[in-house]
Amino acid sequence: MTLDRAKEIVTNRHDYAREWKKKTGSKVMGYFCTYVPEEIVYAAGVLPVRVIGSHEAQSYTEPHIYAMFCPFSRDVLAQGLRGKYDYLDGIMIGHSCLHLRQAFGAWMTNVPASFSYYMYTPAKIQSPHAKELMLAETIEFKKAVENWLGRPITDGALDKSIEVYNTNRRLLKQIYELRKADPPPLFGSEAIELVLSSQLSDKAEHNKILESVLKELPQRRNGPQGGNIRLMIIGSEDDDTNFLRYVEGLGATIVADEHCTGSRYFWNETIPEKDRLRAIGNRYVNRPPCPTKDWESRRRFVHIMNMAKEYNIQGAILVQQKFCDPHEFDIPPLKALLEKNGIPSLFLEFDITVPIGQFRTRVEAFLEMLQLEVV
């Protein structure tokens, strides 16, 4: 199955990036948040790879950022300090939350790269000026990349990049569409791996993987069983696919998600227009938002409730990286909204490693609760 290839990219992400570099002779840029307009990096012939969690206990970050920073930001920084990303030529972040920005700052100070860039992105996507602001910042960012590489990024390269990225988004959405079936042809852990592998690999190559997966899925025999409880996972950055596999081994199938490692990453396409940078910028303002930017009306909740209905979910797991204030603020109204719509939810607070014993009891009890009869 080509699905295994996606898992392999996620598992051996560093090998993948190193090999890509060797093969192409080009540069690799690590990025910290999905608000980075990757199309520009890709159009410059640089491979953007997202820095995601390693889930290894660590003791490297304490001198740089305090222990009440979210586990994800600490995990990210630890990997930088340990030299796990020594192949990166540049690093960048699109402004979202302060924990991750501070982790980026500590990385920049302690692990110098030839290019490091903090891109401001609108903190309030509902603002009537958000798109203009995003455009201005996108123009600045493009200039910075051009200066770094010493060559311009052409309109032709941008068009090609937009097309490759849109294809990737469209293919992922087609695969997600299949998850509406009962049983869906793939597990939620596999779907997240498809998205993660997209964030970690060359999109042109990833598109081929997705095309094969789309062809193979209808014939698949070893997918999830019918009659399992249909769950949605909602919340913070979540790359803990081992935990998702674990949940799906207990008689549930994760059929939908709202994470930046899932649907939030690819749900909307760039709508091409003559001003390429405006088109790219608009796409990021219009995407299903991260709660750091979603104010005051909640576009995020609309996306969640649409998905919950379309994917016919029976329950939701609300995943929060410990100390993630933006999500913490959204969870009580979200829980109430789900409940009002007849969807019970389970709240879990994630750390770099999760307490599997306690979580097992909570998840199992939640699934027992969702069944008509316990036995």
Partner: protein
């Protein structure tokens, strides 16, 4: 030779219901609740509790489970072969080789509470050895919502054992002694058991009596679980299960802070609310057996 007294060591026990003749029962099932501190087994003859065993959990779940069930059937004439279905619950539930199914202690406590106190029960507070759970259930004892404390022993039986040892007070007397104070002291402020213990030592050095320190700890524990109940919401009727439910010092302070009295154990009740999970397990075992018989 010096004798080392361990004050936390509560007495293991067992019970046989003299009014039940298992030989006349059509179905015998059991629930085994291997908790972090205690292992409980309850044997059900049709719909009646026949016997139970309440033992300390050892270093592995299979042995602890076997120990509890053996103690439960001791002297009843029953053998393991007579028990037609066993449900495992508690944190060791997945590691009980002779259990036909594992069900969480959350579902089992709700079911057990429904059996013990009747269908009026809506909120259950299970205060266990190493965690604490607030559970809502319907009239059938099916869970409708639940919350668990975080990964910390504060507000749990283990914390109370640490204090019993520190003050050299047998664990069963902690509750009563904590109420024998002229004035209620402010609660211990640390939520971490290790820090709370240090705080307790500090209070003793300041000249506090044992009773005062116990009062401060029981009060802190009560306050801590109240926040859990406030988060899930309080629905009447309310009952307490788990080992701490037998500590009057915690329970009375909890009731005071909540402004609600827990439903007392029924008068004819001879067994212990710490057994609620095991009883729930035995009831699920009975349902599972009925279901499998129906299928054939």
């Amino acid at each position: 030779m010096t004798t080392q007294v361990e004050y936390w060591r509560w007495t293991e026990s067992r019970y046989t219901n003299p009014e039940v003749d298992w030989r006349k029962a059509s179905t015998i099932t059991a629930g085994i609740d291997v908790g972090s501190v205690s292992s409980k087994a309850a044997v059900l003859a049709d719909n009646e509790i026949l016997a139970y065993g309440l033992m300390r959990t050892g270093s592995n779940s299979p042995d602890s489970a076997l120990n509890a069930i053996n103690r439960a059937i001791e002297g009843t004439g029953l053998t393991m072969k007579d028990i037609k279905f066993i449900v495992g619950t508690g944190y060791g539930r997945i590691n009980i080789p002779f259990a036909g199914k594992a069900i969480t202690e959350i579902a089992c406590h709700a079911r057990g509470a429904n059996y013990i106190w009747g269908p009026v029960v809506r909120t259950i507070l299970d205060m266990g050895g190493q965690d604490c759970k607030a559970i809502h259930c319907d009239e059938k004892g099916k869970v409708t919502a639940f919350l668990m404390n975080d990964k910390c022993a504060a507000g749990t039986g283990r914390g109370m054992e640490v204090f019993a040892d520190l003050l050299q007070v047998p664990i069963t007397q902690v509750g009563e002694m904590s109420l024998q104070v002229d004035k209620e002291p402010p609660p211990v402020s640390s939520t971490c058991v290790v820090f709370a213990k240090s705080e307790g030592i500090g209070l003793l050095r300041q000249g506090w009596s044992k009773n005062m320190v116990l009062a401060a700890y029981c009060s802190a524990m009560a306050h801590r679980v109240v926040t859990l109940l406030e988060r899930i919401g309080m629905e009447k009727e309310f009952v307490l299960t788990g080992g701490i439910s037998k500590n009057i010092g915690v329970v009375s302070r909890l009731e005071k802070e909540l402004g609600i009295q827990a439903v007392p154990l029924p008068k004819d009740q001879k067994f212990d609310p710490q057994l609620a999970g095991a009883i729930g397990g035995a009831l699920f075992a009975r349902d599972l057996l009925a279901k499998s018989r129906k299928a054939f």
